[in-house]
Symmetry: C2
DNA sequence: TTATTGTATATTGTATACAATATTTCATAA
DNA sequence: TTATGAAATATTGTATACAATATACAATAA
């Protein structure tokens, strides 16, 4: 077994995290050690190291003597998680409002404008991407390492539950309007309006986070 | 080796965490695996499980092929951590202000009053305890699991750096006045003043968190 | 002396064997 | 048929052996 600069445990941790966040390993699935060892080509020691890390992150849930499963958040927990994100991200936006990268916001604005004209499936994909991008711009403004880490961690934990179910184009239009409100408020240097917009965005985006059980 | 309900790994994790938070294992110390195994009477596997958990928590720092050391935060990092706590705890106090347990606050107030009359070393100890208690009352008001978890985690990370260096009694008097401002504001239902008081408290308490290197 | 390099030792990283427990299977009885 | 329970199997938890690397130390040369 070749030894690398990054340990196998770390490597496996990253790979498993990616697989879970992308939904390749679905929520509620048992993480059978031997099976994963075969698939990843490592022994149980580094695999278990990765599992422990993921448990500590809150991505997996450990049941004594039964193993780890991909954490299945209850509807109520998802709600709390989104509420926590709303509070934290709004706070970041408010406190670091002056430092926000206006150029990036302008780029995002332009991209959305183009997507809007194109419409169709492209639009839907762009709306999803723009959403991630907007949250990323906001959090990256914050220079407090600890706060950034906490916000990012919550963003990760949300990922497996995120589904954009806007079959109707009215939804897309409404979502776009919401984004534009935030973007415009930022470009107009209106912190209060931007925060209010972001807060409202979290309120409405709740319905796009579903419980797999339902 | 007797098997318990809680796994050895978990048990070792808790014991090490306690030792570190209480300063029994000082900041900057190398966590030599074999030595710790001997002291705790376990093999390397559960010990390493505990170390990995502590690394993921940010309590330890891992250096590839060299092992884990108790994380030694820079002065700047401590500052950031305290700033993060200030933002989060002030937010909690503001958002959950109505839910705060006034009875507990009154008890705390009474205890401080008694300690103040006693003075001396008792006073110093009580001031320290009261500080912990106040922060605990505030965070326990919050019913958002994720937010509580994050605030508590930061409080833990702070612990090893906390030193109350008030040789002069004027310091104690000033600190007491600060506490009383918060307590009174809460009892008078003045959210704004309570938040302002808590914020100020974080500002002044900065100097009681020292960098071991200095 | 001081710097450098090779060797011995210490220490972490990984694989594997064994122990303890959970789950499944299947035979038997009501 | 269905329920029960014991044996077989699967799976996690722990200990240990070995591999890979880092550190310490001694020998040698400048």
């Amino acid at each position: 077994m070749k030894i690398q600069h990054r340990s196998l445990g770390e490597e496996v941790y990253r790979r498993l995290l990616r697989l879970i966040l992308d939904g390749k390993i679905p929520v509620g699935k048992w993480m059978r050690e031997e099976k994963l060892c075969d698939e990843l080509g490592v022994s149980r020691t580094p695999l278990r190291e990765a599992l422990i890390r993921l448990v500590q992150e809150g991505v997996l849930e450990q049941q004594p003597r039964r193993g780890c499963i991909v954490r299945q958040l209850e509807q109520d927990e998802i709600k709390q998680m989104m509420e926590c994100r709303r509070l934290l991200e709004c706070m970041v936006l408010k406190e670091w409002f002056n430092g926000i990268d206006r150029e990036e916001i302008k780029k995002l604005d332009e991209k959305l404008r183009v997507a809007e004209e194109t419409g169709g499936e492209t639009l839907r994909i762009n709306v999803l991407e723009a959403d991630e991008k907007l949250h990323e711009i906001i959090v990256s403004t914050c220079d407090n390492h600890f706060l950034v880490e906490q916000v990012r961690r919550l963003q990760l934990l949300c990922r497996p539950y995120r589904v954009l179910r806007c079959a109707e184009s009215e939804d897309l239009v409404a979502i776009l309007a919401e984004r534009r409100r935030i973007i415009n408020a930022i470009l107009n240097n209106s912190a209060e309006d931007a925060v209010a917009g972001l807060s409202a965005h979290f309120e409405t985006s709740r319905k796009y986070y579903i419980d797999e059980n339902k």
